[in-house]
Assembly symmetry: C2
Homo-oligomer: 339 residues x 2
């Protein structure tokens, strides 16, 4: 990376559109926040995006070379084409050639990625990966769903057409709750905000969770945070919900650790705030179900015959800006030097 | 690869030691088969290996440049060090510095890999991967256990210390049968030769499988092949066993397809001979549990908005020589050109 190059990153969300100019040494140079005008249609959204990119380019291109444009978008996406495929959170955007349209709108080279993947890239390059000195990781983002991104040797692993990292759909319980993907018992309906609310409603319906029932009465749209407050106050049903989240995560992480043998797995997203509530059962299942983890457990001393390799499970280091940061970093990881 | 370079590969098994000289254009130049003298101890085995390597080197090094030595070994292995760690099938070999000792014994550069990984490499470079024109795959070898190897962009994915590809320990049923790794319900005890025999014995003990009971009576050490013969003759219990193998494989493959999004998954090993018996339930579970597979199913036409990317599940193309072939190919994938 030349010291005098910069990039422009776009964090394209269903609600907000955030665009930033970024230089590796300086961080964000300037950020533009606008609302995503979904109602105005896809052409208007792409036009807003391109206008913000051009504005930042015109402001910074005098002093530095533009490395390229990185866009983090909700999926599913066809990659490297950057084509949206029936994105559930962007109604009307099916088939949008996002990469080609932004490229046409700004006349610069553009790379499009899944939003979970760019967040993972940011964690790798400037977050927990940098802290631990590793260049590969898998990040699970526990939000409305469970997103995942895999970084191998400093680059996003897209798989053959951009669908890698759908680790939210690893099966945990064969007859578990129905998932949006059509299967049952995936990680997603067990370890997402949606899953936590669903489980609370089940316990309320079973009549065995008076504190949760009282919560629902005073706050019908209760959040995982409110359930976590009950758990921290000692309510057994609320505690059970997070213990179950930890078990599901531990079983899912075991599959990832056994298959990928990466040095780092990062847990992010809103539900990650309840780490203290779910991590004990997470580690219990992970130790039980992954001998690879047991042999590389950071809490165990290396044996004489053993390697010093360690498998770290960590909370995300970056906050909600991870997506925008990752979109800005992306052009530096995919475009060759010399521009 | 220079046309005039060759390699020497070693397939190090608990019973047989096979060493070959190999050139990419010509294939095997010569193969040496000897028994693995486990009883004589590790020094004797390494000495036998080195003697065979030196013999082949001295015979072929006059006409071509030796690219390097590749060794496929039973695991677990620390990589890239090539150190054995408590290998269950090589008693007394714990801690053996296999790479360093062979390098010292022959004075050439040596690369050591897991036997499941080199078989996967061979399938990628000269087997099913070549046939389909893809450079990434995951291979599951259904033998006594379930081995796995992952090839990404033409190279073995080792993970951080050589333990990647332990996909045999992906969890399928949380309370399933005990696995050698200490967990329960891993793919290995469900889709291996050992697992098939265990399941047959369970059905015999339950008194509901007269044909299997008769088989055990006349052939106490009955094999999966004998069970498959009963299944092909229509015995419902034998058919059920292979249907269960297919379900477990389908659930495990769904986790791999969702996580890795590779173009090809290869099934090898002795149990793969029963493909016709287990593949219907395999595909049933895989389609149900992986929307990534459903979107890239080779048996479905690409949709208009869709990608042409396809996820192939195929039987291994190479036979038992895959391990030796992969060991021979290995030096060409890891040592830079120009010797």
């Amino acid at each position: 990376m030349a010291a005098d190059s910069f990039s422009i990153g776009v964090d394209f969300g269903g609600t907000n559109l955030r665009v930033a100019a970024y230089a590796p040494a300086a961080g964000f140079l300037e950020t533009i926040h606008i609302a995503t005008r979904l109602q105005a249609g896809r052409d208007a959204v792409v036009a807003d995006m391109c206008a913000a990119i051009r504005k930042l380019r015109d402001r910074y291109a005098g002093n530095a070379t533009l490395k390229g444009i990185g866009v983090g978008s909700p999926g599913p996406l066809e990659l490297p084409e950057g084509r949206l495929r029936n994105p559930p959170n962007l109604p009307g955007f099916d088939g949008l050639e996002l990469r080609a349209e932004v490229q046409r709108g700004v006349g610069e080279r553009v790379v499009v990625e899944n939003d979970a993947n760019v967040a993972a890239l940011a964690e790798c390059i400037v977050g927990q990966g940098k802290k631990l000195g590793v260049d590969s990781l898998c990040m699970l983002t526990l939000g409305t769903g469970v997103g995942a991104g895999i970084i191998l040797q400093g680059k996003i692993w897209d798989g053959m057409n951009g669908m890698a990292g759908e680790a939210g759909h690893i099966n945990i319980y064969i007859d578990g709750p129905l998932c949006g993907c059509g299967s049952r018992g995936c990680l997603e309906p067990l370890a997402s905000a949606t899953g936590v609310r669903r489980r609370a409603k089940e316990l309320i319906a079973a009549g065995s969770a008076p504190a949760l029932a009282a919560l629902e009465k005073r706050s019908p749209d209760f959040t995982p945070r409110e359930i976590s407050e009950l758990a921290l106050a000692g309510d057994p049903s609320a505690i059970q919900i997070f213990e179950e989240v930890g078990r599901a995560l531990g079983i899912g992480l075991a599959a990832l650790v056994n298959t990928l043998n990466l040095p780092l797995y990062v847990i992010g997203g809103g539900l990650a705030n309840s780490w203290n509530l779910f991590s004990p059962t997470l580690f219990e299942e992970l130790r039980y179900r992954s001998y690879v983890f047991r042999m590389t457990d950071p809490d165990q001393p290396a044996t004489s015959a053993g390697s010093s390799a360690r498998t770290y499970i960590r909370l995300a280091d970056l906050g909600p800006e991870a997506g925008l940061l990752g979109a800005c970093i992306l052009p530096f990881t995919v475009f060759p030097d010399g521009n």
